[in-house]
Symmetry: C2
Subunit: 228 residues, 2 copies
């Protein structure tokens, strides 16, 4: 796999390609051109070819791309075949939802264990994953290679837990707390799922649309008045 320095914009598009390719495979589509793929994703064919060309040559002139083959390449680009391991910290509502519904293995991850402070949950299993006491965190990290910690603890505990994690070798965090963990001069990878940021962006777009519609209505009103 070629691996030049690839821009964030490209990297954020790759998972969308994967999802679309899975969809195409399910629909029985075996080949697709950058033109058609672009149509379906709202991207230009140029951009799609540029994106893939960061990683190699996956198409064939005059034919396009084989869907199944491209899907495998995309999966490899994303590291889905590397068998990364994860632990989950905090089996609250979000933690439970992830353990219950989110299929880590579908995306190439092994969820090794979860950790909780609530004694009622410790020792129980959820979707086949054992919930351990937070007291065991350090010893577990010493004995297991863990690539990612999924952080789904309450806001107040976020920074404290993060410190314990990074002190014990964790170098990547999938952050579901609404706390800004990213320390600019740290080498820890943090991927945020900030619900509020997402909702507020939507709020912005709705406001924008409302304002535009109001402005349009005002212009129409004025015009109608002038005609009289």
């Amino acid at each position: 796999m070629k691996r030049v320095k690839v821009s964030n914009n490209v990297i954020r598009r790759i998972p969308r390609y994967l999802r679309k390719l899975d969809e195409l495979m399910e629909a029985g589509v075996t080949r697709i051109s950058s033109f058609d793929l672009g149509q379906q994703l709202g991207l230009t064919p140029s951009q799609i070819r540029q994106d893939f060309s960061c990683f190699g040559e996956f198409g064939q002139q005059g034919y396009g791309y084989n869907v199944a083959a491209l899907r495998e390449q995309v999966a490899a680009i994303l590291g889905m075949d590397r068998g990364f391991s994860a632990i989950l910290i905090g089996v609250g509502n979000i933690g439970r939802a992830l353990m219950d519904n989110f299929c880590f293995s579908e995306w190439g991850f092994h969820l090794l264990s979860a950790f909780e402070v609530n004694p009622a949950l410790i020792g129980t299993e959820l979707s086949g994953v054992l919930i351990r006491s937070m007291d065991e965190l350090e010893s577990f990290l010493a004995e297991n290679k863990v690539d990612v910690a999924v952080l789904s603890v309450p806001k107040e505990a976020a920074l404290r837990v993060t410190e314990r994690l990074t002190k014990n070798g964790i170098r990547a965090i999938w952050n579901f707390t609404n706390v800004e963990l990213t320390d600019p001069n740290s080498s820890i990878l943090v991927e945020n799922v900030h619900f509020s940021d997402s909702l507020l962006s939507l709020s912005y777009y709705i406001s924008e649309r409302k304002d535009e519609e109001a402005a349009r209505a005002a212009r129409a009103e004025k015009l109608a008045g002038a005609e009289k």
Copy 2:
């Protein structure tokens, strides 16, 4: 409020400004310069001033920005003061987690009601919000102005429910299903929270780092060999 056409990049940064400003207020900071704000967010002062200048003049030469005042401006930009209303469809794990933990009102939204097919849940309340039968969806939408539908149904139901929503006047969806709802030529606003996209991006970054470290180790190895 000035409202020129603002790029997506800017819009995605505004919620981060809000979060940081809230943090500063809580810490008792009353004024901040674009320089300091940039330091804390990993952005250049230029970019911060450019971003705000899309919406107005919120600072003061020689002084910087008043934190509380800027926070209010940012909130207004995002439409947090518009009292948008929302309903939630699908009280599964994710739906429940949102109703339980996510404070809609903190971000200016009123969660009016939730809808479910499971009879055991219908008629009950969660965090003060009534769970109605999906059968009541159409009549509810006819009687209430709803700005956003939060979609947290199982994957299989996503498209069907979306159609019911849009047929009954819903024009913005906050989508928690892993389904691509965005129809390029539709005017419905869709804001996606795709967990898998997020995890796969992280997977990419971890892979990249691993490859770099392996390459570095290989070079060191070679060097050590050459010295012998």
